[in-house]
């Protein structure tokens, strides 16, 4: 604290190096001090030449934009399996999001090179893997907990007897019921009410008891 005031009285503008060495001569005009941040882009002295836009240019432009648009619809456009949602919802765990990529339609035709890419398992789509993992999970649970599996088998049989077609949805429903994450709630508990109220067209004068 005491030593801070030491160099104050030594003389104006005392610096540890000589100013001449840096290149600023004695008494020379220094550049004006900058009062605002430097501009984002350097100033352009020579403006660029305008674009050549003839019929050919416009046709190629249309081709380019069409091509880009078409590529988005082809099966070659690989989308990540998880679609980004704006807010994480608790019901996400219990609802199946549809597979958003359409590569299921495309199988590489060139069987010869395909089989040569050693290390490749047969082409699996996203839903296949998820179903197979569910089946594996079932098996694991069966092997680990014998008593509970008997109970689960009984309940799943009952469910099969009760519910009818729409196999996949029902399968998912019964798989998730009790086995997935072991919740006590049925699937409709996790409905967020978005599909509700679609068919109430008649007048609601009568009260519902």
């Amino acid at each position: 604290m005491v030593g801070l005031g030491h160099s104050r009285g030594r003389g104006k503008g005392y610096m540890s190096f000589s100013i001449e060495a840096v290149g600023i001569g004695k008494g020379e005009n220094l550049p004006p001090s900058i009062l605002q941040p430097t501009p984002l882009f350097p100033p352009v002295e020579h403006k660029p030449v305008p674009l050549v836009m003839g019929e050919e240019g416009e046709y190629m432009l249309a081709l380019k934009q069409e091509f880009r648009g078409n590529m988005k619809n082809l099966p070659f456009y690989v989308r990540p399996a998880i679609s980004k949602k704006d807010v994480e919802r608790y019901s996400d765990k219990y609802q199946n999001s549809e597979p958003s990529d359409n590569t299921i339609e495309w199988n590489p035709d060139r069987g010869s090179w395909f089989s040569l890419m050693i290390g490749f398992c047969p082409f699996l789509s996203v839903t296949d893997t998820s179903l197979s993992t569910r089946v594996d999970k079932e098996e694991i649970i069966h092997n680990l907990e014998v008593g509970i599996t008997l109970e689960e088998e009984v309940t799943s049989d009952e469910e099969e007897g009760e519910k009818k077609k729409q196999e996949e949805e029902q399968q998912d429903g019964e798989d998730e019921y009790d086995e997935e994450e072991e919740t006590d709630y049925i699937m409709s508990y996790f409905d967020n009410g978005e599909e509700f109220g679609g068919d109430s067209d008649d007048n609601m004068d009568e009260a519902v008891y």
């Binding site: 002295e45 020579h46 660029p48 030449v49 674009l51 050549v52 836009m53 050919e56 240019g57 416009e58 046709y59 190629m60 432009l61 081709l63 380019k64 934009q65 091509f67 880009r68 078409n70 590529m71 082809l74 070659f76 456009y77 690989v78 989308r79 990540p80 399996a81 990529d101 590569t103 590489p108 035709d109 060139r110 010869s112 090179w113 395909f114 089989s115 040569l116 890419m117 050693i118 290390g119 490749f120 398992c121 082409f123 699996l124 789509s125 996203v126 893997t129």
Partner: protein, 543 residues
């Protein structure tokens, strides 16, 4: 594989194939050859997505696979090709060229093959016939035979070629006997076979395709589904399973190069000279290899016979034109002998070098002004000059010349060469010579071009993202309008829906569309410069 190239490739992959493929592709481009597990681990992508992306990349020829470095037993390694991905930028030019040469049918064939990477002939013909039928009036449809004839023409002129046969390295890997160190490696596995190495490269398969294009109606969806299933069952055997066709980019590049030379001659001399050069190039299309420095010698008699019939010039006039072309400082045409009335060649390499030089000069002129361009041209011509000599030859006052030279030097367009007089390299006793080397400068400009295109794409993506809400709203309203019109609504309803977009929003949309169009067409034009510079650099590589 410079940083700018990888960045541009990443953006192109993202636009055309999605983010997943972009991540895998960029990783492969940066890291060289890798096997499946490494890619999956280092990019933190689930294995099935990696497989899908690799399939997409191989389908489009951007990625190649081969046996691993540790010999036949190691896992397969994948390599991405930067050059191939950069071709995506030029797709509109290829499609447009096919249109000018072979009409709408040719255009659609090339577009379909480019979109799918590679396709069988029967598939292409069917899809193109369907698309053409869709655009025709009611009641008319496109015959398969017309499409087949356009396809054959494309193959005959080498614009389409067969896919190279797959390397037989699989047999070496799956054989039970382990490879001993003494046995030589299988010859097919070292380098991937190119399309040209296949002798059947341009042979059309014997396929009988009889039928007409089907018109797809959006109203009967169920019928279309059933029709689709039926089509799948019908495509059993048109006889060309396993024969896939892809676009021969090198042939298109040859065509572009010829066009560039012809237009350069036309603008430097006149129309007739350009016709003569066009004739010479057309005659040597099939005899010139891709990397030749000049075409095969052609005698003046042959040229005279092959001139187009509407260009009836007499023989002495042709000789005069040819001697004019030979004497021109641009050196497009050279004389290689005197037999047959004079043997003439087109100097392809020299022409490309001149075109690249003109590009460099024009870039300097547009960025730094005409006086700096004068200095640049001077240095190109005179090779090494001292600062005093530059000022004298260019006739520019000393202070400004110094300024311009230093600006060019800081941009790396001009280099400084030191020649010491004394062994101690004292600055007062050293010559400092300014010089311009054309090849490194061309490479530098090429990298600038890649950076430019990448910046243009990023700006376009940014503009689209900024106005995403507005774009979505306008798309929704268009969809509503279309459905209302299809179901026959009154005009008041239509105007009511149209008014949902306010006037300032409309203006904003219009401005956005204008900007995006401008950015897109700029990309196309920068690609023309990229092509010139790439061709020049490539022609100097193969000596």
């Amino acid at each position: 594989m410079t940083a700018q190239e990888v960045r541009l490739c990443g953006l192109l992959l993202q636009e055309h194939f999605g983010e997943v493929v972009e991540r895998i592709g960029t990783h492969l481009l940066r890291g060289g050859a890798q096997n499946l597990r490494t890619i999956a681990n280092e990019t933190n992508t689930p294995l099935d997505l990696v497989k899908k992306s690799l399939c997409v990349l191989v389908q489009h020829g951007a990625c190649d696979f081969g046996s691993g470095r540790r010999g036949p037993g190691s896992p397969v390694e994948y390599r991405a090709s930067c050059e191939r991905v950069l071709r995506v930028l030029r797709y509109p030019r290829y499609i447009y060229t096919a249109k000018t040469l072979y009409g709408d049918t040719g255009e659609l064939i090339v577009e379909e093959v480019l979109q799918r990477g590679h396709m069988t002939m029967s598939n292409t013909v069917k899809t193109v016939a369907d698309r053409l039928t869709h655009n025709m009036e009611e009641g008319r449809s496109m015959e398969y035979s017309e499409v087949v004839s356009a396809f054959s023409k494309l193959v005959e002129t080498h614009f389409l070629q067969r896919c190279p046969p797959v390397a037989e390295m699989g047999t070496a890997a799956t054989s039970t006997t382990p490879a001993t160190p003494s046995t030589p490696a299988a010859p097919a596995s070292t380098a991937p076979p190119t399309a040209e190495s296949n002798p059947d490269c341009y042979k059309l398969p014997h396929v009988t395709l009889i039928g007409r294009g089907k018109r797809r109606r959006s109203s009967d969806d169920s019928e279309e589904q059933r029709g689709g299933k039926k089509a799948k069952m019908d495509s059993e055997s048109c006889g060309d399973e396993g024969i896939y066709w892809l676009v021969n980019f090198e042939r298109f590049h040859q065509h572009f190069r010829d066009q560039a030379i012809i237009s350069a001659v036309a603008s430097k001399l006149d129309q007739t000279s350009s016709e003569i050069v066009r004739t010479m190039l057309r005659m040597s299309e099939v005899t010139t290899t891709q990397t030749a420095a000049y075409t095969q010698p052609l005698s003046a008699n042959e040229i005279f016979r092959s001139l187009p019939p509407n260009y009836s010039i007499s023989r002495p006039i042709l000789d005069q034109y040819l001697s004019l072309l030979v004497d021109d400082p641009m050196e497009f045409v050279g004389k290689s002998g005197d037999s047959g009335g004079g043997m003439y060649v087109v100097n392809l390499q020299r022409a490309l070098a001149n075109l690249a030089r003109a590009t460099l000069e024009s870039v300097v002129q547009e960025r730094f002004g005409s006086r700096s361009a004068r200095i640049f041209r001077l240095l190109l011509r005179k090779r090494h000059l001292e600062q005093k000599q530059v000022e004298d030859f260019a006739m520019i006052p000393a202070k400004e010349a110094k300024d311009m030279l230093y600006t060019l030097l800081s941009e790396n367009l001009v280099q400084l060469q030191e020649i010491p007089k004394t062994p101690d390299h004292a600055p007062s006793r050293t010559f400092y010579l300014y010089t311009v080397n054309q090849l490194p400068t061309a490479r530098l400009l090429l990298q600038h071009c890649y950076k430019t295109v990448a910046n243009l794409i990023e700006r376009r993506l940014f503009e689209t993202k900024e106005n995403k809400r507005l774009l979505e709203k306008s798309q929704r309203i268009e969809a509503i309008l279309a459905s209302l019109q299809a179901s026959g609504a009154e005009p008041e309803q239509l105007t009511e829906v149209e008014e949902m977009i306010t006037a300032p929003e409309r203006q904003q949309l219009e401005a956005l569309r204008h900007h995006i169009n401008k950015l897109d067409s700029t990309e196309n034009q920068v690609d023309e410069t990229v092509f010139l510079l790439e061709s020049y650099i490539f022609s100097t590589k193969t000596k």
